[in-house]
């Protein structure tokens, strides 16, 4: 499954660890053991990304979700580096709390509010791939339905009307909550997100945030592996980028 380090194509991933991150090890585990990539933890107080090819902001409750989820983490020293990396076109992926941090940091539009249903939602959901032409979804078919778990109390995506129509024009909405057949309905929306939004990219397409946890649905030992398609898309994109760079040398 995926490129192996033996052929020299392993990419370097950095998983940022904030105080209160709790999906950092899951992300590390799947990248290293399922996808055979070169992966390291990056401590929130570090001021170097150690030359990684992609950054993952993992799920959890950074700084205890004090003030607002992600609000304090976004001022961690490492976030200065993540921001300039993203500005230079570097690949950044925020999962759950990582998505909240990217919104707070202004690297993604909008914000994540308390779930409309008042519950912490922890279960498998279905999301429909709305744009299969991004670096994070190229291994999916357009309209494909992925089964990936969520686990959050504040995943209710919100952006104002003007921001939303801009995002729709640019195809920045990449995942919407849907039913098992791919119908985007109110019943399939677990948290009240506007337009059933579950995941988005920035205008340039190099920064992605999603509430569902692909790292929890990647290891075949856990049976559900739809999340792997997202990591494999990202890895494939990085490999392709390297090949392009080499071929122009």
């Amino acid at each position: 499954m995926g490129p192996s380090p033996a052929d020299g194509s392993a990419k370097k991933f950095g998983v940022v660890v904030f105080p209160g991150s709790n999906c950092d090890h899951d992300a590390y585990y799947v990248l290293k053991n399922v996808f055979r990539q070169d992966v390291r933890f990056l401590w929130h107080k570090d001021s170097s990304l150690e030359g990684v090819d992609a950054v993952i902001l993992p799920g959890g409750f950074s700084y205890g979700d004090y003030l607002r989820s992600g609000a304090i983490a976004r001022f961690s020293p490492i976030m200065k580096e993540v921001t300039s990396f993203a500005t230079d076109g570097g690949m950044v992926m925020g999962i759950c709390n990582g998505f909240q941090i990217l919104c707070e940091a202004g690297l993604l539009p909008g914000s994540l509010l308390r779930n409309a249903g008042l519950t912490f939602a922890c279960r498998f959901v279905h999301v429909r791939v709305e744009n299969a032409r991004t670096a994070f979804t190229s291994g999916c078919r357009a309209g494909e339905v992925l089964k990936i778990p969520i686990a959050h109390g504040e995943g209710n995506y919100y952006a104002d009307g003007e921001t939303l129509s801009g995002m729709e024009r640019n195809n920045q909405i990449i995942f919407r909550y849907c039913d098992v057949r791919g119908a985007v309905t109110g019943e399939a929306n677990p948290n009240g997100s506007v337009k059933n939004i579950a995941g988005i990219v920035n205008g340039r397409g190099n920064v992605m945030g999603m509430m569902p946890h692909p790292e929890r649905a990647s290891d075949p030992a856990l049976r559900e592996t739809d999340g792997a398609k997202i990591f494999l898309s990202a890895i494939g994109h990085l490999v392709e980028k390297t090949q392009l760079t080499h071929s122009t040398l």
Partner: protein, 82 residues
């Protein structure tokens, strides 16, 4: 020294499920006349400046950059000399 008393509230267009839940609890206490509850945050911040305008600038910057998220929240504050 100034004491800034800051209120951060959800914008009117934003649903407040927490406020709604608290309203239901209030109603179950028998206070049926309570119609709407909106939850917000109250923050006190001491600013070591004797210049009111400077203290105001600091309070304003703290609100804009950290204490409130302009996507979903409004803020207001008062300054009190202490």
């Amino acid at each position: 020294m100034y004491l800034a008393k800051i209120n951060v509230t959800l914008r009117p267009s934003i649903l407040d499920p927490q406020g709604k839940a608290v309203r239901h609890a209030i109603a179950s206490l028998g206070m049926e006349d309570v119609r709407d509850i909106r939850m917000g945050k109250y923050i006190e911040m001491k600013i070591s400046s004797d210049d009111r305008a400077a203290a105001g600038r600091i309070a304003d910057e703290a609100c804009r950059k950290l204490l409130a998220n302009p996507v979903m929240e409004n803020f207001e504050y008062t300054l009190e000399k202490i």
